[in-house]
Chain length 182, copies 2
């Protein structure tokens, strides 16, 4: 995946109605620097890129999380959520292409006895969710808790974690994860 720093900087600068010199002045760098970066004739250090972006202002994170313009699908009827796994746990995903999005939102349904398994999950992300119905046992690191309707959780996905239903009721959850984990 290529990332065109120059083109992106130019687009952002123009979108904010700034000239190279004006931006350079606000950022405390030379106009030549801005020009060369925009032409991709130099690859700025993250330090100087940060200085330039401070003149806009925009965070490095926003700069690199590219917003693609084309009209994307915004609305999803309940029946056309993408069902990802359909065993004891059913994940209905909002949107089709998780790798292109910052956020993975799932409407989850656990059958009674459903369990993500003994070997704990781990991935580089953050996730959280709200329980709508039923009772869910959530284990994160060395912490464990049983959550009911309206209760919620939030943790760093690097910590080993596990979900398991308790009781005989179907359990329903809406969860979110950034970046998407599958």
């Amino acid at each position: 995946m290529e990332f065109d720093v120059g083109a992106r900087l130019r687009a952002i600068r123009e979108m904010h109605g700034l000239s190279q010199r004006e931006l350079a002045k606000r950022a405390g760098v030379s106009n030549a620097s801005v020009s060369l970066i925009e032409q991709n004739r130099s690859s700025p250090s993250v330090g100087s890129l940060k200085k330039v972006l401070d003149g806009i202002p925009m965070s490095l994170a926003d700069f690199f999380s590219m917003e693609q313009a084309p009209r994307e699908q915004v609305f999803f009827r309940a029946e056309d959520l993408t069902v990802i796994s359909d065993g004891a746990i059913r994940y209905a995903q909002v949107g089709r292409d998780p790798e292109a999005r910052a956020l993975q939102i799932l409407h989850e349904q656990y059958q009674p006895g459903a369990d993500t398994g003994q070997n704990m999950l781990r991935h580089a992300a953050e996730e959280g969710g709200v329980v709508l119905r039923g009772r869910l046992e959530v284990t994160v690191g060395d912490q464990r808790r049983i959550l009911g309707p309206g209760d919620a959780y939030y943790f760093n996905s690097r910590l080993p974690h596990r979900f398991r239903t308790v009781g005989e009721e179907i359990c329903e959850v809406v969860s979110a994860c950034t970046p998407p984990s599958f």
Copy 2:
């Protein structure tokens, strides 16, 4: 907002169980370079930072947007979700410190007739949600749709957007936004 490139790179590298030399080899740079970057004794060009991250692999966007420190509180009882606004629209937020998190998860309740207002919202983020109950009119850019229970939405928050209930039923939504918008 400070961003500690060195510390972040070191944390990520160690999390992936790589030595400086191993990462340097995969990335096609010198181990000295990795060492100096991690000590913040040099500020890498985005080109070389990208090369280094390719050796992990990880995108620039992920590098700059992901959270660094693990979080302490994981579980939230329904009654200790943080209620953010309590007029016609009630936002119950999972977690207390949105600016320290990658993800803002809200359990929202709209009273009949509730509306986020004529002046459309805009912010640099991505957001989505699932409707649990009631009917919600969602406007994004030039698109508009009425969603019911189980329906969902997802869009880039830079597009002007607005939420409005229709009908006499209370409307309930679980939404997520990255990065948090308030």
